[in-house]
């Protein structure tokens, strides 16, 4: 049984009390303590900057050529905070409650409440850094709504919220780099974790420019290395996003928690061909105004698939706005897992609206009309013409979503102001991740995990605009305190030497692993293995899963792994800039990660959040949880022979009642 180290006390005051009684590290000692931060996304950059400000000696790593290019840069829609600026009944409790419910009652109450508490400080901090959030006419901060909630608590910066928040954190990090508190290592990839006497004391990296293998020692290691969505090959993640840092930590004793909890985002641009390298998200914010539909009849859908009709040819009464029909209370703004499954159901019925039959419409025509009319009224235009309304309406929509519409048009070549967008679900986010306790410390002492890399706050499904919140909460407001619980015991530990036997062994392991990969010298490219893996996991461990399918998938993944180690071909040398080698080490780890996802999905005999098991559904086809047997976190230990061991953390709900999640 895993100990989450949640401090005692009332939920609402626990964090404040804990923080006030925490062990501190005196300023003079901080200067002597070294911290490694791997990752410069929202979680890593905010952590490294803040730890630097506090006076710790920080070494920060990313595989990108600049810390500003971390995948967080791509987040579009927004960041949640319980500010209640809209006076619409929001509160810390409500954000807490929405997140617990949204996560389908599979997250840790105390962590989620802390997240809701610090959410408000995040907005203040970002504003102070100069993050240009959207503003109302009076100059105050604006909000919008995201799925799964009934208040407006999402702060945003056009469709580039992640970019602006990351630049804020990157600039703070840059200030710490300039004043010497943080030493930055760009284009360095962590290839192993080093433990000394059971504690995390360093990492082994490869300098991606030169191929040099280096040892880096510190008093503790913080990993903020992002999610593992690219197991599926096609996802909305950046091409380089990978699980290797986390997976290497698992192979050194950390645990992979709830790996089967994956978020499939309902609104992405559909796949167009075999050569497809990634999928592009259309922000959830679009569901504030876009209406999702498919034709009511299969005949109409067929005609569209064959190119004989378009969405515009389908009369209003022949359209099925299925989310509004099935979920009247939340309509188009149901949570992501619900919206994705509903799209799959529509397409499985043969009602898809693209050549492949794998797409549904997201339509802005009604919103353009509504905004056009209200804008005409505001501007005092009497009896506006239809074309004037259209123009005014399009202008409003352009102002709200302009860059998203532009992105859509660039990729598809279609104008979404005139034609309804075509969208389909795609892998987007991973709720599962490295197991951490309340302090964000893993079961390996001195190893911490932040941001999407950990499993902590979103249970079985994440609500929109909550990942940015969590990343920044972890980095700015949690780890700077909780790291002291570990480091206060280390003030007498001299600098860790990278010359110990443990470092030497870890370095040798890395060298052997790279040499082994290179020596295979087979005939298939790394990319081709990645594609094959992605297809298996998407088919059997994607939007819906079954026992038979999962059992089959395990065999397929194991066979593929064998094939990889006998037939992969990596061009170039080990000691030079070699992107194919980088990909190979990442795909090797994905090939193991994929297996643990399947194992976890097989173990969890229930449907919850992003994990939908076909055997466990209600009569209406909704997900059916099994609280009696599965109200726990499954944290996995890897075993090379396939006997992966599960560790449990039981989840206790003292402040909310476990209910069937309903958005009807």
């Amino acid at each position: 049984m895993l100990n989450s180290n949640v401090p005692p006390g009332e939920l609402s005051t626990k964090w404040t009390e804990y923080r006030s009684k925490m062990n501190l590290v005196a300023p003079g000692n901080k200067r002597r303590l070294e911290v490694i931060v791997v990752g410069t996304g929202l979680a890593g950059a905010s952590a490294a900057a803040t730890l630097g400000e506090l006076g710790y000696n920080v070494k920060c790593f990313c595989f990108h050529d600049s810390p500003r290019r971390a995948h967080s840069i791509a987040a579009q829609g927004g960041i949640n905070a319980a500010k209640n600026y809209q006076n619409d009944g929001d509160s810390i409790y409500r954000l807490f409650y929405d997140t617990i419910k949204g996560g389908d009652y599979r997250s840790r109450e105390s962590n989620v409440h802390r997240l809701a508490e610090v959410s408000t400080e995040i907005i203040d901090q970002c504003v102070a850094q100069g993050v240009p959030f959207a503003r109302e006419y009076g100059g105050l901060l604006a909000n919008r709504s995201f799925g799964g909630v009934q208040v407006s608590r999402t702060f945003y910066a056009r469709g580039q919220t992640g970019q602006q928040l990351l630049l804020g954190a990157y600039q703070s990090l840059s200030r710490q780099i300039a004043n010497g508190n943080v030493k930055m290592y760009n284009r360095h990839e962590m290839l192993d974790l080093v433990k000394v006497d059971g504690k995390a004391r360093g990492i082994i990296t490869r300098n991606l420019l030169t191929g040099e293998i280096d040892r880096h020692a510190a008093h503790c290691v913080v990993m903020a290395t992002g999610g593992y969505g690219n197991v599926y090959y096609l996802s909305t993640n950046a091409m380089g996003s990978n699980v290797s840092a986390g997976w290497r930590a698992v192979r050194r004793g950390a645990l992979m928690a709830n790996p089967c909890y994956v978020q499939i985002h309902p609104t992405c641009i559909p796949v167009s061909g075999e050569y497809q390298s990634k999928l592009t998200l259309m922000s959830e914010s679009l569901r504030n105004d876009g209406r999702v539909w498919v034709p009511k009849s299969i005949e109409d859908a067929k005609a569209i698939q064959e190119g004989k009709k378009t969405g515009l040819d389908i009369a209003e009464e022949d359209r099925d706005y299925y989310l509004e029909r099935r979920y009247p209370a939340f309509g188009n703004l149901v949570p992501r897992d619900v919206a994705s499954r509903a799209a799959k159901v529509a397409c499985d019925e043969g009602k898809g609206v693209s050549k492949t039959g794998l797409a549904v419409y997201l339509d802005f025509a009604a919103a353009i009309q509504r905004y056009g009319k209200s804008e005409a009224l505001t501007q005092g235009i009497d009896n506006p013409s239809a074309s004037a309304i259209l123009k005014l309406g399009e202008d409003v929509v352009r102002k709200k979503y302009g860059n998203l519409f532009q992105m859509y048009e660039k990729i598809t070549g279609e104008n979404p102001y005139k034609m309804p967008m075509k969208i389909f679900p795609a892998v987007h986010y991973t709720m599962g991740g490295i197991w951490v306790d309340y302090n964000l410390e893993t079961n390996v002492p001195g190893l911490f995990a932040l941001g999407e890399a950990n499993f902590s706050d979103h249970g079985a499904n994440r609500l929109g605009a909550s990942a940015l919140m969590q990343g920044l909460a972890d980095g700015y407001f949690v780890i700077p305190y909780t790291i002291g619980q570990f480091l206060s015991k280390e003030i007498r530990t001299p600098n860790i030497s990278p010359d110990s036997a443990e470092f030497e062994q870890a370095e040798q392991d890395v060298r052997d692993r790279l040499a082994k990969l290179k020596a295979i010298n087979g005939n298939q490219s790394v990319e081709s293995f990645h594609r094959k893996l992605g297809k298996i996991i998407w088919e059997y461990c994607g939007m819906s899963r079954s026992e038979a399918g999962l059992n089959k998938a395990i065999g397929l993944v194991r066979d593929l792994r064998k094939e990889f180690y006998s037939d992969v071909y990596i061009p170039g040398e080990l000691d030079e800039y070699n992107p194919e080698l980088e990909k190979a080490t990442r795909v090797a780890d994905f090939l193991e990660m994929g297996e643990i996802m399947i194992v976890d999905a097989l173990n969890r005999n229930e449907s919850c959040g992003g994990h939908f098991r076909e055997e466990y559904t209600s009569e209406e086809g909704e997900a059916k949880r099994n609280d009696a047997d599965y109200t726990y976190v499954a944290a996995w230990e890897w075993d090379d022979d396939g006997n992966h061991k599960m560790h449990r953390e039981d989840l206790e709900f003292k402040n909310v009642e476990l209910k069937t999640r309903s958005y009807k």
């Binding site: 600049s66 995948h71 100059g139 194919e580």
Partner: protein, 248 residues
């Protein structure tokens, strides 16, 4: 469609590079980078060296992609990064020349990959507001007029891709630097440090080996985020007043 590609191949920083000719079969729905992926798969299956190029998000926001296509950073399309360029803009039989950025401050790593750390250094010199975590006041205590917020935002959308310096005959980083100066100095939060910021960032720009700005305007034309050269005018005004004024 069948295409001919003239691609710059250079083994490493010190090697001599040259253009090499490749044939590739592309589909109009592919992105430009997916077309290069297809070529690379081909090269790998022939056991030859694939073409190295930087990329990550493939949706126009991370600033990694950085090709010079037929002489223009990010290619022919206005306001578009390389990764957002699609093959439907080309036709069967076209020949396309692909080269790396060429600017003194961006050394070539391999083939089409360059090192753009010099831009990070410019930000480190002063491209921030000096506020530690925990020191902030309530977000709504700093109201900002919509027009000003929008202008600051426009400048803040720079993705740090380096196309401006690559497009500039002088290899100047002025557009990039001025975008950050404008973003921060337009906002009340950035006002206090605005004089020292512009001095330090301009000095760093020189130190990194970027050239002088002589108002050619090529940067604005090739900037994928359509950052305006108005920002350069603002930088110049700020720089002048910062150099004339006393210490801040």
């Amino acid at each position: 469609m069948k295409l001919k590609l003239q691609v710059w191949r250079q083994k490493n920083k010190n090697a001599k590079g040259s253009l090499k000719l490749y044939n590739v079969e592309a589909d109009e729905h592919m992105s430009f980078l997916e077309m290069l992926d297809v070529l690379n798969e081909q090269l790998i299956s022939d056991k030859s060296d694939p073409i190295a190029f930087d990329h990550d998000c493939r949706e126009g926001i991370c600033g990694s992609c950085s090709l010079v296509i037929d002489g223009r950073p990010h290619g022919p399309q206005q306001g578009t990064t390389t990764c957002q360029l699609h093959m439907r803009h080309y036709k069967d039989g076209d020949t396309i020349t692909i080269e790396p950025y060429r600017a003194k401050a961006f050394p070539i790593v391999k083939d089409l990959v360059t090192q753009r750390t010099a831009y990070d250094k410019i930000i480190q010199a002063g491209g921030y507001v000096s506020v530690n975590t925990g020191q902030a006041v309530d977000g709504n205590a700093i109201p900002i007029e919509g027009g000003i917020a929008a202008k600051a935002f426009d400048a803040a959308t720079c993705i740090g891709c380096g196309a401006c310096a690559a497009a500039c005959p002088n290899g100047s980083a002025m557009l990039f630097t001025s975008a950050k100066i404008a973003h921060l100095s337009l906002l009340p939060q950035g006002q206090i440090e605005h004089k020292s910021r512009v001095r330090k960032m301009v000095a760093q720009m020189d130190k990194e080996g970027f050239g002088m700005c002589s108002n050619v305007g090529a940067c604005e034309v090739d900037c994928p985020k359509e950052i305006s050269t108005d920002n350069i005018a603002r930088l110049n005004r700020e720089y002048l007043s910062a150099s004339l004024g006393a210490e801040d």
